[in-house]
């Protein structure tokens, strides 16, 4: 009897201990965000006062200062336009090409698919200089199209959809083929409506990619009017190195959409993240 009690207590202690351990680590992992929000609400002259992590001041004017010193509104708009260009085209082209690779038989399909997969291993530095030269040649420096074009479709997206469609049963479209539907109709009316999980996953992937990308906008935009949110933030931080309070306000504004969207779509995101590592 005593022994059982002892065992139960030990299990409880272990459980509580594990949660305490996780909470402790969770605190340290989220600490930078707490710090960012708190600092964004401090009066500027108090930044050098002893640091604290819970907001005790609510100096909202830092946000106004941030938006006045740097055109964050404009950066937001630019990023939004780029995101609205990249995400739908990624979804459309990837699902169409994924369907082709999963269902159609055409000459050189295997080779093309291998080539596609091998581009996943090529580091961006190898492609960035020629990509820049192409965009320059097309006269697309400092344009939205130049920011969108290289990322309008990705090998990763095509691969994701191909894997997804290959798992569909053949019977699904047999009937439709007999009835004389075209391949395009089958994709549009049978495959696409069933693709919600893959669409959600690639949607959030490409959104985060477009929202967070930095190197490409840095290279092809020289006009501050075309800067995206990450580029604007980096330039702001380079210029006003120690104006911490408006800087933290700007940073808060820039990370919020990504975190909110991730939390909403995390189920799809994490599931496909795990699947994507299986290909290695």
């Amino acid at each position: 009897m005593h022994n059982n009690y002892f065992k139960a207590i030990m299990t409880l202690v272990r459980k509580v201990g594990m949660h305490l351990f996780l909470l402790f680590l969770g605190f340290w992992v989220l600490m930078p965000f707490l710090w960012m929000i708190t600092a964004s609400l401090k009066p500027p002259e108090l930044f050098n006062a002893p640091p604290h992590l819970i907001p005790i001041y609510f100096h909202w004017s830092n946000y106004i200062v941030a938006f006045q010193t740097a055109p964050f509104g404009r950066y937001y708009l630019n990023t939004l336009i780029v995101v609205l260009g990249i995400v739908p085209s990624q979804l459309f082209l990837s699902s169409l090409a994924g369907y082709a690779f999963a269902r159609l038989n055409f000459w050189g399909k295997k080779l093309l698919f291998m080539l596609l997969l091998s581009t996943l291993m090529v580091p961006m530095y190898v492609t960035i200089i020629p990509s820049y030269l192409i965009i320059k040649k097309l006269g697309l420096l400092n344009t939205y199209l130049g920011l969108i074009l290289p990322f309008a479709v990705s090998a990763f997206g095509i691969f994701l959809f191909r894997q997804f469609y290959v798992s569909f049963p053949k019977e699904l479209e047999d009937r439709a083929l007999i009835d004389g539907c075209s391949r395009l109709q089958i994709w549009r009316y049978i495959f696409l409506p069933l693709s919600k999980p893959a669409l959600a996953a690639l949607g959030i992937f490409s959104f985060l990619f477009a929202w967070n990308s930095f190197l490409w906008p840095l290279i092809i935009t020289t006009d501050p009017k075309m800067w995206t949110i990450q580029l604007g933030l980096a330039m702001f931080s380079g210029k006003y190195t120690t104006h911490w309070t408006p800087l933290m306000a700007g940073t808060t504004v820039s990370v919020l959409p990504a975190i909110v969207l991730f939390i909403v779509f995390q189920k799809y995101y994490i599931k496909h993240l795990v699947l994507s590592t299986r290909l290695g």
Binding site: Y125, Y132, A152, I259
Partner: protein
């Protein structure tokens, strides 16, 4: 599209690496392997390769070990599991730029981290010191990588059939033995994969040092990404920058090939 922006550029970059060109002028002289000869005798190049390996090794070690420990802990958390998974994953979805700005302020003299260290009697100038700047970058890089590794390791742990553990317990195996003879062998391929993915990703880092240190102090954090960027888009040495890019490509390829070899070896054994 992929043809234009992924496949064609590989060959074009290789071609450019054999030329001397500023990206504008009509003159583009073919210089053969001259860029490579210059590259391999350049101290900056070897310095950048060294610090990039330092960064990649640091981030990989910290984030893979941390991810495994976290995954093991979260795996026992029951219903709260999904909540912890979100919490630890949030840094991974924030941008490198935002992370760099926030951590720069944490490391600044009035920052929370500097203050915490000061309370232990350590007054350190993190980003201004050639010795401490890289460890500071590694800490941030690992912080951003941790969530990814945790989630993948957690999925790996959960894919181990529960029956194995039940059986082992019935036969009287202790916690250590279960870990040593069930968890460890079954997780080995996944740990290896995580290591390779982390190394390759970290090797290509750019945003973080660009915003946090700009490569300094004294080239202490001048990773190859920065070296390529500066040569191509500040000094307009497209040919020379291309030869660095091709070298990086070969290094990554080598790492991947070693991984494949080790994997095959692991399967036979």
């Amino acid at each position: 599209m992929i043809g234009t922006f992924s496949i064609f550029p590989i060959f074009y970059t290789f071609y450019l690496s054999l030329t001397d060109w500023d990206g504008f002028s009509r003159v583009r002289s073919f210089v053969g392997l001259n860029n490579y000869i210059r590259l391999f005798s350049s101290a900056s190049f070897w310095q950048s390769i060294k610090v990039t390996f330092y960064y990649a090794a640091g981030v990989t070690l910290l984030s893979v070990l941390g991810g495994l420990v976290l995954a093991a802990a979260i795996n026992t958390a029951g219903r709260l599991m999904f909540l912890y998974r979100i919490v630890f994953f949030i840094p991974t979805v924030t941008s490198f730029v935002a992370a760099a700005v926030v951590w720069r302020s944490l490391f600044s003299p009035a920052g929370f981290l500097s203050d915490t260290f000061r309370s232990f009697g350590l007054s350190l100038n993190w980003l201004g010191s050639p010795i401490l700047a890289m460890p500071a970058l590694i800490l941030v890089g690992a912080w951003m990588r941790l969530g990814f590794n945790t989630v993948i390791a957690l999925a790996g742990l959960q894919s181990i059939p529960k029956a194995y553990y039940d059986r082992a317990k019935i036969e009287g195996a202790g916690t250590w033995h279960i870990f040593r003879f069930i968890t460890l062998p079954l997780m080995k391929p996944m740990v290896l994969l995580l290591c390779v993915m982390s190394i390759v990703d970290a090797f290509l880092v750019f945003d973080l040092p660009y915003v946090m240190t700009g490569g300094g102090p004294v080239e202490a954090t001048n990773v190859v990404g920065l070296l390529i960027y500066k040569n191509a888009f500040h000094y307009y040495k497209m040919g020379f920058a291309s030869s660095i890019a091709i070298s990086v490509f070969l290094i990554i390829l080598l790492i991947t090939l070693i991984q494949m070899k080790v994997f095959r070896f692991g399967k036979e054994a």
